[in-house]
Chain length 312, copies 2
């Protein structure tokens, strides 16, 4: 349950008066999500998601909220934020930075079809292109340096063979420079639970709070690793190909990206293997989130090491 901060209708109503979205009809906590507190807010005018940020500070929010506003303005289906009467997207509520975003219809899909993968791939490419004109930037706080520092903290908890694999892979990644690959705004966490479908039609991307500036190809690899992943950690070829082909039809890959692709898939697997190892072995004091299994991404990585077909 992801309601860390309780908001009552009595506390919400005066805050809602900052906005032009009508009067409160219903308020309901949302169980999904592991970092922030979320509520469905229904007013006389529509349905919104209220987010209270449990870690991000008020002055860190403009990047994320202006970004989703920018993408929405350019026709990328995302849950855009609502501005209040002072034209701000966020302000304090119940002691936390808080914002309202439009509520997208639909739900996430746990077993995506190739057709759904293709829709996500095409939209991700549109997002990468639309990000070109976004004027703000944000370094990736979970890039290669973070992987190495975090890996050092979890080696003591790992089986020796697993630790050796991780060391070996980090060494390989650190010996490659991707500076010549196209960079831009990436979602950085476009897993199945961050895309909503309304029936067969994609309804939008959500949860941009890991978004940052990094390699576009890395974002594609993160998404393909999740969207095409089977229960055993292997990759479904049909879903992977549908995702990648649809992406390339909107944003063709450069030759340098095609060459970097096999290693990029491994980099994307390392990112989540490491963070899940950390969350499992070194949870923050009092953390209420459940740790996800790191082994899934270890399997993805091992399979990528053996692979000869990368769906290009």
């Amino acid at each position: 349950m992801s309601v860390y901060t309780t908001v009552t209708p009595e506390a919400l109503e005066p805050w809602l008066a900052r906005y032009d979205i009508g009067r409160l009809v219903a308020l309901k906590g949302i169980a999904a999500g592991v970092t922030n507190t979320n509520y469905f807010v229904t007013t006389t005018q529509g349905r919104y998601v209220l987010t209270l940020f449990e870690a991000l500070q008020l002055d860190e929010l403009p990047f994320y909220l202006n970004l989703t506003h920018h993408l929405s303005r350019h026709g990328v289906a995302v849950a855009g934020p609502v501005a209040d009467r002072t034209d701000q997207f966020a302000s304090m509520l119940a002691g936390k930075p808080a914002c309202l975003v439009h509520c997208l219809p639909g739900t996430d899909v746990s077993a995506p079809t190739p057709a759904q993968c293709a829709q996500v791939g095409a939209m991700l490419a549109s997002m990468h292109i639309a990000g070109d004109t976004f004027p703000m930037s944000m370094p990736n706080p979970r890039g290669p340096h973070w992987w190495s520092v975090t890996a050092a903290a979890v080696y003591p908890f790992m089986a020796p063979a697993d630790a050796a694999l991780l060391r070996d892979e980090l060494h390989l990644q650190n010996s490659h420079r991707y500076a010549y690959l196209p960079r831009g705004i990436i979602h950085a966490d476009l897993f199945r639970d961050n895309v909503l479908f309304d029936g067969e039609q994609i309804s939008g991307f959500i949860d941009f709070y890991y978004a940052c500036n990094d390699l576009l190809l890395y974002d594609l690899a993160i998404a393909v690793n999740d969207w095409a992943m089977l229960a055993d950690g292997d990759i479904d070829n049909e879903r992977a190909r549908a995702f990648i082909d649809a992406y390339r039809a909107v944003r063709p890959l450069q030759q340098a990206e095609i060459e970097a692709w096999p290693l990029m898939l491994r980099a994307a697997a390392i990112r989540f293997w490491v963070s899940r190892l950390y969350d499992l072995h070194l949870p923050a004091a009092g953390e209420l989130t459940y740790a996800k299994d790191p082994a899934a991404f270890q399997h993805v990585l091992e399979r990528h090491r053996q692979r000869t077909d990368f769906w290009l």
Copy 2:
């Protein structure tokens, strides 16, 4: 049928490449609307309405498109425009200024319930408040001066008693000054066909191409005259009261507005009686639109003259 300018998929595709909304899947003309050419555009990413402006010039569009963008950003349910990669909302297509807006779900309602009237009234009040922070402005091209000039052109076509009524009403309006009433952004044409409902839930306001700066109370009167109008031109008390009460719950009326209300309802009726008389008797050469019956608003006006209860 309101497709005055034909757009083929072949002509549309290169223009769509200006945007980040995916590739064209389907293109379909829209019969509704009397001024501009409209198409439904379905892409791999979503559904949009393409409008080609038959009268407005490209440099006249920023007011309307920035306005709907502003309202949408503030949570007022409107069909917001989509920006292209140069961050413009409009550009030329098939020789006409053209734009894409998000497609709202639902359809217009021809026989609104009191509950639907209340939703529209509340949203209109939100729109009036959200318009407060919109930085652009537009004088009303169809204000009292336009009524008088246009009435002079149609008197020769009218039955003497009707013409006398119109002269009398214009004289009365011209003898009143409303300069002290709250002004702001008004829709100025919020008839039933310009509001979409998705089931029982309001989905949004459309067609802001008469929007301008004028008296907020005048906008309320225009909307009430249409939303509460019965087939015989009388006003349904229950619908009128639901509309007005919901409006006032969001934006309370000032005492001066309450006093001006009976005459404002008549002003709003005059506006559409006059424009319909003009369209009927003096249609523009080659105009393809069908003229709506002016008599409906003459009846509304006559009923307002006899009324003692104005639902306040």
